[in-house]
Symmetry: none
Subunit: 218 residues, 4 copies
DNA sequence: TATGAATGAGACTTCATTCAT
DNA sequence: GATGAATGAAGTCTCATTCAT
């Protein structure tokens, strides 16, 4: 399963809704502004100016400012969770492609890092605003609980049975795996984005760390 | 070195500046509102109402809304970083109290978790707003770079020499240690705060994970 | 050279900037209010009410209250100084139309008095506020120094050479001529505006006074 | 009649009202602020700070901000008009000291110029605010009409009878005399206060001008 | 469909004034 | 008498949203 396949899936999800050129400009301007100043501190008039459209045009496409936020965040988050929805996802993990948890972890890390690189602005908006809008929190909490967590859990149990990974509750394992990746993404993109980063090497460190820990004992 | 000692230090830092009762009400109301709605989406009139004071009273104490934000966030963050400034901090790690990195890690984890429990609202505000206000980001970036990172590095090198921990760049070790802790705090307080959490047990998992990794090979 | 010509010049200067009906109402209401209460004591809410528009409408057209002040005062003052900028101004004085300083003075007096009658409110605002706003003072000081004073000086020297007027420094002559006119305008429009005034007769007195003084000896 | 006598008169007018040191500081600070920013744009809190007193202290001495304005302006204006109230004023003009209108004019000019120099700030405040406060305009209009104008008129008629000055209505003569002096004061103190001014020479010019006009023919 | 002028509610902030200490 | 914290009305200005064109 390659990047390409996912992306196709994702694009198909939203491509049926045709988006006019003006709408695209509005979305781009809104992403820019929201991610720079935050949703509440961004004004629709500034977005309109940046998009090169009239103030009223925004409201022709999106009834309210919040609807504009959702229009930005929703499809991107759907894409973010998309891999876990692919029918073949778990099967492939079990059967062939990812013989070890390590491989699986490496794949997820690389893959989602790539995604973050591409969609960083929108993710930033999402993370900022999820705290304040139930419309954002609820569907993604549900989505995570019902789909992502479920599949993940199966995969982890699979590798636990194989004796590859320790016997902790799956949510703990998920948390530790995920937080190690996120713990790289945060400084990488937010705290010190201007520093030079060798992503491949760092991912190896992360995988190594997660798998073998900090213990000097190998 | 115990909690008590730190707390004393912290309190002394700010207790000389006497705070009137109304001021305290304003601060409490502001923390409440900011952490619930975010800084930009909170109105001073709402804060005033919640604090039971006239709106003008807020501005007698804090020239601007942003100054109110800083008045909330700055001392709390100073307290958060405070342990790392205590003169005895590194010495105690090296000499006696924390013979192993594990002990040190456990202490930090417990200790800062305690702090987060107590000051969660303010920390949430800080995390939310640091992305948008240079006045917040810069001093803490500097503080971290100049003080926290330096001491941490020495400690890590110390345990690396002892062969207790792996030979990765210190910032990578820090990142992994910290993100494992943060990776617990985030779901613990933000995503699923209503769930039951056995903090002591979870910290043991974290420490174990960080020290020995997920690898089944012990 | 007649009033008509000047006025055309002036109107052309600003007529290309089209002003909407609401804008005109706002300007009229602002002139009214500023001249009655002074700039600082006038509130935008009162102006809005008087203009019959929403308060926000004022700020759509003029970013700040001060910009509204400048929008009122600047073009009027430009018009006030306009006669001195007409290409033919000095030539006509020298060559034919105003053979004597007296004629020139009478023309200026009548002409500018007419202007004051028409634009008294705005001039009052200007005079009141010039003391407090550098943005007002500086351009007009410069304008006066560079253009009005220069032309005036040449004209005065011309009549001094002809032996028509006394040999004092041109700025003194200007001051005395001007203050005699202003010394009429002030009581005429500010101190006792309700009294009956025979402008033509008074201007004759002024001209006579400026030329021959109060001495009974002719 | 000398300066000294007038000044004594004036001082006696107000010296019975004892003024505390704090009050003096308040008055000085208020004069400073009002004359720099205008009455409406000055805040009592700024005045209090400049005076080194608490905000409330101002209101202990002056019930309202406007009362503070009046406390500043009223005695100064009384002093300004004072010469005209001295019992001997007109008599001395008629009988001996000022044999010619010219002498009288010179004396007034010098004398009031001196006064303006000393009390410029307050006069500026007065001139600015008289347009907006009936409490200021009315008493001084009355005072001028009843006392100053009356005496002035007598003096002028006296010199008209002697054939020293032209036969224009007294108010016209007053206006022309006064405006010639004011026409010096304005640029002297407001427009170009930083320039070098030879007051004595300029006053001679003014007197000469008022008496003999600008005509070169003597 | 797009525009942008207009709106009015509400934002932050200032200020003259009061009053308990 | 002096203070300065507190007030709340009012000030300037912003903003999401509407609607006639």
């Amino acid at each position: 399963m390659s990047d390409q396949e996912w992306i196709k899936e994702l694009i198909n999800d939203t491509e049926d809704t045709v988006i006019s050129e003006k709408q695209q400009k509005i979305l781009a301007a809104a992403i820019d502004t929201f991610s720079e100043k935050g949703f509440a501190a961004s004004s629709t008039s500034e977005i309109a100016k940046k998009a090169g459209v009239a103030e009223g045009t925004i409201f022709r496409h999106y009834k309210t400012k919040k609807e504009l936020l959702l229009a930005i965040v929703t499809p991107t988050m759907a894409k973010f969770a998309a891999p876990f929805f692919i029918k073949t996802f778990a099967k492939e993990v079990f059967e062939k492609e990812y013989e070890h948890y390590e491989d699986f972890l490496r794949m997820i890390a690389k893959n989602r890092l790539e995604f973050v690189k591409k969609h960083f602005s929108v993710l930033k908006i999402f993370i900022q605003e999820i705290a304040f809008h139930d419309e954002l929190r609820e569907p993604y909490q549900k989505l995570f609980n019902e789909h992502v967590y479920g599949k993940f859990k199966k995969i982890i149990e699979h590798f636990q049975e194989k004796g590859e990974i320790i016997d902790l509750p799956p949510e703990t394992i998920i948390r530790m795996s995920a937080s190690s990746i996120i713990g790289y993404i945060l400084p990488r993109f937010i705290l010190f984005p201007n520093q030079e980063w060798d992503d491949d090497k760092e991912i190896e460190h992360i995988v190594e760390f997660v798998m073998y820990g900090l213990s000097g004992k190998r």
